[in-house]
Symmetry: C2
């Protein structure tokens, strides 16, 4: 892992009032590097060979802690499992029902946020789109 990535991770954790542990750093680094909206199992499996003592409980604990500190978004676009995403400026997600990929959708939706915030206090906004992605469309002619 590059030194600057470690430093960045340490700072990110400290800035959010979290203790710095190797497990937290490596999970944060995974999210930052791949940005692939993984579930807990994918994170665990990707990291366990280089971090043999890592437990799945810790993966869950860590992601939950980071979510509470608004460092990580929890996506429920999949009906069967949670997926995690390093938090960044509001964007949305598209899930392909064919290949299962979750793609970032860069759409700002200022209307929605503003209107509803007048009535309730809105802390999280999730835009989930589901269908067939352009790649699968060309492959399989499902247009």
């Amino acid at each position: 892992m590059a030194d600057d990535a470690i430093e960045r991770g340490v700072k990110l954790l400290r800035d959010h009032g979290l203790k710095v542990t190797p497990q937290r750093l490596v999970i944060l680094r995974y999210l930052e590097k791949y940005r692939n909206h993984p579930n807990a199992d994918e994170i665990y499996n990707a990291l366990k060979s280089r971090n043999p003592s890592l437990s799945k409980t810790t993966v869950y604990n860590t992601l939950e802690t980071m979510h509470k500190q608004r460092l990580v978004d929890v996506l429920t676009i999949s009906e069967s499992e949670r997926r995690y995403d390093l938090r960044r400026e509001s964007h949305h997600h598209f899930m392909c029902q064919e290949c299962g990929r979750i793609l970032d959708i860069e759409i700002a939706c200022p209307n929605c946020h503003r209107i509803i915030n007048g009535e309730h206090r809105v802390d999280e906004v999730h835009g989930y789109f589901k269908g067939i992605c352009s790649e699968c469309l060309t492959k399989e002619d499902k247009l």
Copy 2:
């Protein structure tokens, strides 16, 4: 159950190519009457006293079948369970983290749908907002 509600249910099922069964009718009727975004368990518990033979498996089967026929929307706004909603013209949902209620949000978001449809084929759009509802805000001063 009112006669016209039954008739409406029968028509709805037939129009969607589904066989008409008492279980399907009563579940449909529940969704139509309460529109409270229930989970499978709530539906089952609400109906079992008047429909003693109803099984939870059938509740799940029925909701899944209706979802496939685009009669019912599956909401994953709650992280721990699916919630169901009779399908109607596109609207969105707000979940109060305090009282747990899921409220309908009547916002049209034409931008989003149009833009993304140029790239992928979009079959479902879900807008999930989370925070504290106005009622809980006044009660507890969490503004």
